[in-house]
């Protein structure tokens, strides 16, 4: 049984069909990459999957539950975490606070408990803080927990945004260009992190433009163009697909 099953998904903005009759699935533990030219509908697809946009038609089934039309926070609670294309973190807060907010959905805290600082609330906050520290050490930011997030390097901010999504304990993690805007030398560290997350049992759906990275780490690749799936398969199959080469990869990939 597939972890995520998308069938006949459509999204129409005014006269523009951003996602067109899309079908695909993600298996448990799989790393699926979404590639395609700019404007192909990749980020729109992420917004549809996570409830930020409502599909015009079609269904999204996750873990055997129909999550079409769920609100973003509900989707997250069902087990889909995401990062955003433009690195989204709370720049004014500390690194630890960022992850704690990501972890807060697992905390039982109320107004009265928070104001009175009841032992139960304090225990809960401590538990969340410890969990957040564990996640920070997983993404190798353990030594930076008291730094203000906005002062980190772009690479560390990417790590932080991934750790925030991880804090929600996703079964499927959607990464929107996790290496965008990062130095070439620093990319390998992020690729390593993606591998590590995958090894821990989380499925990953990746939007990426860096083809060498996509080809080396993906189990399967889905290629979008003008909102339509034009190809799907293993990296090798996709790299040799004539339409993909024409629409996206360019002739130098035809080998």
């Amino acid at each position: 049984m597939a972890l995520l099953e998308v069938s006949n998904l459509n999204k129409i903005f005014g006269g523009l069909t951003a996602v067109n009759a899309l079908d695909f699935h993600i298996e448990p533990g799989e790393l699926l990459s979404m590639i395609g030219p700019n404007g192909a509908g990749k980020t729109t697809l992420f917004n549809l999957l996570t409830g930020f946009y409502k599909p015009t038609s079609g269904t999204i089934t996750f873990n055997d539950i129909d999550i079409t039309g769920c609100k973003p926070y509900q989707v997250t609670r069902h087990g889909i975490g995401r990062t955003f294309q433009l690195t989204s973190i709370f720049k004014e807060s500390t690194v630890l606070e960022n992850v704690m907010i990501g972890k807060s959905l697992h905390a039982a805290v109320g107004v009265l408990g928070s104001v009175l600082r009841t032992p139960a609330t304090r225990r809960e906050e401590k538990r969340i803080r410890e969990k957040a520290r564990e996640i920070l050490s997983f993404v190798s930011l353990g030594d930076k927990e008291n730094r203000i997030a906005g002062g980190l390097t772009e690479e560390a901010q990417k790590r932080l945004s991934i750790s925030m999504a991880l804090a929600t304990e996703p079964k499927l993690l959607l990464l929107d260009e996790p290496t965008g805007g990062v130095n070439l030398e620093e990319i390998s560290g992020l690729i390593e992190l993606v591998g590590k997350i995958r090894k821990s049992g989380t499925s990953i759906c990746l939007i990426e433009h860096k083809m060498r990275m996509v080809m080396s780490i993906s189990d399967r690749i889905v290629v979008l163009n003008y909102g339509k799936k034009i190809a799907e398969g293993t990296p090798k199959e996709v790299a040799n697909n004539a339409e993909v080469i024409r629409a996206y990869l360019g002739a130098r990939y035809a080998a």
Binding site: E97, I101, G102
Partner: protein, 301 residues
């Protein structure tokens, strides 16, 4: 005078919670204040409730009111919420003026009591008829509300409020139901404003529709920006400064709004973080300046 500063400070703390920390600019705070003042006034003067039951009644009504108008208003985000909140402020202002049977209309509502005297264990009573005990009574509430607000925004729950003010979509994507958190913040804010309204009614003994005029919501916003949004002391410092300035300068009331506006513009341009926020940044700016001078010095050497 200082008693009023305390009451407006409570209202300002209320606005700080929803605007400063949660990022939702509400212009409805005159309405929330008015609902508090009139709930308290009606409960005591018309229904004959003693002070404390009326006070509890006011808290319940204010919270309920905040919750009920929050549900439709907070569905809207950004500027749309600002407009709708202003709409509520105007509507409540009109209702208290026009529903004469209930509110007494422009004549207002009189016969509102001071707090019930408290009996000392050694005999005698603490009465609130004179200004000084009333001032301490209100000050006690200011400290209480400021304390509640401080604890709330420094809790994990409060961190999610602040997160919403920074980036609502990101917060939502982390599994936080941002609509319900904003509604919670607005409801707590409404309770604070209701407390301010009840204290005002009890202090002033009479209330008139003036109390719920929407301009008051904007005045309090100016206090907050001058004092410093999203700071603990900002609402109190801002209120104190902005109430004191016209008093000290002996400005005629007509000019007050003009001066307020001028001060607001100056603050937004030169010190958008307000007085308290400025205290937190000025030292670092000063150090930066020193460092620059130091580097230049080295260059010369």
């Amino acid at each position: 005078m200082l008693t009023l500063v305390c009451i407006w400070s409570i209202l300002c703390i209320s606005l700080n919670l929803i605007f400063g920390y949660t990022g939702q600019l509400s212009l409805a705070h005159s309405a929330l204040l008015g609902v508090g003042a009139y709930s308290f006034g009606l409960a005591t003067a018309k229904l004959g409730f003693p002070f404390w039951p009326a006070f509890i009644f006011t808290i319940v009504i204010s919270g309920l009111f905040g919750f009920l108008i929050g549900i439709p208003a907070l569905r809207l985000k950004g500027d749309y919420f600002v407009l709708v909140s202003l709409g509520f402020a105007v509507i409540i202002g009109l209702i208290v003026l026009s529903w004469v049977e209930l509110t007494g209309g422009a004549n207002g509502l009189s016969g509102i009591p001071r707090p019930t005297p408290i009996a000392f264990p050694w005999g005698g009573k603490l009465r609130f008829d004179s200004p000084l005990p009333m001032y301490y009574f209100v000050l006690l509430f200011l400290v209480l509300i400021a304390g509640i607000s401080y604890r709330l925004v420094n809790s994990l729950l409060g961190k999610t409020f602040i997160a919403i003010s920074y980036d609502e979509n990101l917060t939502e994507s982390l599994g936080v139901n941002t609509m319900s958190r904003r509604l919670l913040s607005f409801t707590v804010s409404a309770v604070f404003a209701g407390v301010a309204g009840a204290l005002y009614a009890s202090y002033n003994l009479v209330i008139s529709p003036d109390i719920a005029h929407f301009i008051r919501g904007i005045d309090v916003l100016v206090y907050l920006i001058v004092g410093g949004t999203a700071t603990t002391a900002g609402p109190i410092v801002g209120t104190l400064v902005m109430v004191a300035i016209p008093e000290v300068l002996q400005i005629v009331p007509a000019l007050k709004t003009l001066i307020n506006g001028l001060i607001l513009v100056l603050f937004i341009i030169f010190l958008p973080t307000g007085i308290v926020g400025g205290f937190n940044t000025i030292p670092s700016k000063f150090l930066g300046l020193l460092r620059r001078l130091g580097i230049e010095g080295h260059g010369i050497a």
